[in-house]
């Protein structure tokens, strides 16, 4: 047999092989990524005059962050599809039959999706800063906030992938879920303009905390960023644990 390398380097090489492969898969099917990059740019451009008139501060942060959260919530589908496709192509078993461990497989899947989510949001923020005049007082806080939000989306998308049986089911769940989460969170309209009941329900939406976190990060407000970030991290933990429980059977089989 043709094997070499220590256990650590072998693990690193396997993760690298998986990551490279999953990046290749994403590159071969970039439609979703492109859609979720262009959609918020159009939203920002179209809603800018309206929000400028309606909001005393000019509404730039609301416009850019709201559009970002709305489009990134829709991109839950990217995270879900990444796992679901392995099942529909029957490639998950092929991967499991190799010496790659469950952890290596999951890292190899997660890293490219996380990179895509970050890229999408970075492009929207960049457009917001360049074309809509968004001023960023806390770039590092914003980076942290984008990372937390991306991880939350990644984990939530993975959980959805364990709950559905087909791509169409996933599309239905993510489309409806994203609209509810984003709208209720105040992504499309500021909460002050929404009905009272929506304002009361808003904190139940992860989108609400994402918007609060990202707006605070843009302002350079560390405390205002970290509080919502902790709540999103908790949501991610719950979703991640549930996803792991859903995958437990498969993981147990891997260890047999």
């Amino acid at each position: 047999m043709l094997h070499d390398g220590s256990i650590l380097s072998t693990t690193a090489l396997r993760v690298a092989a998986l990551t490279r492969h999953n990046l290749l898969l994403r590159r071969r099917d970039p439609a979703n990524l492109i859609t979720y990059m262009i959609m918020p740019m159009i939203l920002i451009w179209l809603t800018k005059p309206l929000l400028t008139r309606l909001m005393p501060d000019g509404g730039t942060a609301q416009n850019v962050i709201g559009s970002l959260v709305f489009s990134s919530t829709l991109s839950l589908q990217i995270a879900g599809m990444s796992l679901l496709s392995e099942r529909t192509w029957r490639t998950w078993d092929m991967l499991r039959a190799t010496p790659a461990t469950p952890t290596e497989l999951l890292i190899g899947k997660a890293v490219p999706v996380l990179a895509m989510l970050l890229l999408q949001q970075a492009v929207v923020i960049g457009y917001g800063a360049g074309a809509a005049g968004l001023s960023i007082a806390g770039p590092f806080l914003l980076l942290l906030a984008l990372l937390v939000w991306s991880v939350t989306l990644l984990v939530a998308g993975s959980l959805l992938a364990t709950l559905v049986r087909s791509h169409s089911q996933l599309a239905v769940l993510t489309d409806i879920g994203a609209i509810v989460v984003a709208t209720l969170g105040g992504a499309l309209l500021p909460l002050t303009m929404m009905p009272a009941i929506a304002r009361h329900l808003a904190p139940a939406s992860p989108g609400y905390w994402a918007i609060a976190m990202l707006k605070a990060a843009v302002r350079g407000d560390a405390a205002g960023t970290l509080g919502p970030a902790a709540i999103l991290a908790a949501i991610a933990m719950v979703a991640g644990t549930t996803a792991c429980l859903r995958l437990r059977r498969g993981l147990a089989q891997l260890r047999s």
Binding site: G5, R14, H21, L25, M94, T98, P99, L254
Partner: protein, 275 residues
Amino acid sequence: MLEATGLVKRYGQVTALDGFTLSVAPGEITGLVGHNGAGKTTFTRIVAGLAAADAGHVTIAGLAPRRAARLIGVAPQEISLYPAVTVRESLRLFGGLHGLRRKPLAAAIAEVTDALCLGGFLDQRIASLSGGQQRRAQAAVALLHRPPLLLLDEPTAGVDPDTRRALLAALRQRAADGAAIVYTTHYLPELADLQATLALARGGKVIARGTAQQLLSGLPGQVTVDLGDEVLTVPATDTAAALAQLLATISKPLRGVSVTEPSLDDLYQAVTSAA
């Protein structure tokens, strides 16, 4: 190389394996034969570490299946490759996961490309290939890292004769090099080509095991004598003795005599259709 003893696997009320026992030695090709639902695929999945047995024991070179993943090459019944990547990219991925890189990986890809005649479509995406080409690509993934145990589930389903010949030749070579091969098929002449030993499965267990010659020796052949106005057909385990006995009793002129030895198909029918 492979030792499986008393494997039991249940899915709810359905018992897929019910004391499945099979051992395969290095260099041996074992044809695993049986009706759909006989437990062949479940057995393959357990050996590959993709499912856990409810009872029983399985080792590959003394290791539990998941610890032996490096020693196993798997080609499942269904095409299980990424449609959007090329054959070469698929081989690079799975070679990389088996610890191959750079020159050893390039050499391994060259070897399976040559053995399975993949050269013409190595850089085409899996989705653009015919069913037979996809089968070849899938077999190449299984063979790539030169595993000492190959689990192939109907690897020639839907392939053309040239592909079949190439694959069987590659497998014979791997067996000659010492690999143990479990070859699941419904196409029995392939097993004769491979000079495989047979394991006949029914109801979740192996009910007959041995070489084709050993298993066929218990089956009757058939002696047919054409007398012109009538044809006499006699089933017989010892066809030569039966023919001699038959000829001794016939006074009419013979128009023709034929002796049919039992085939693997007869064996399959006899074993799998028994109550």
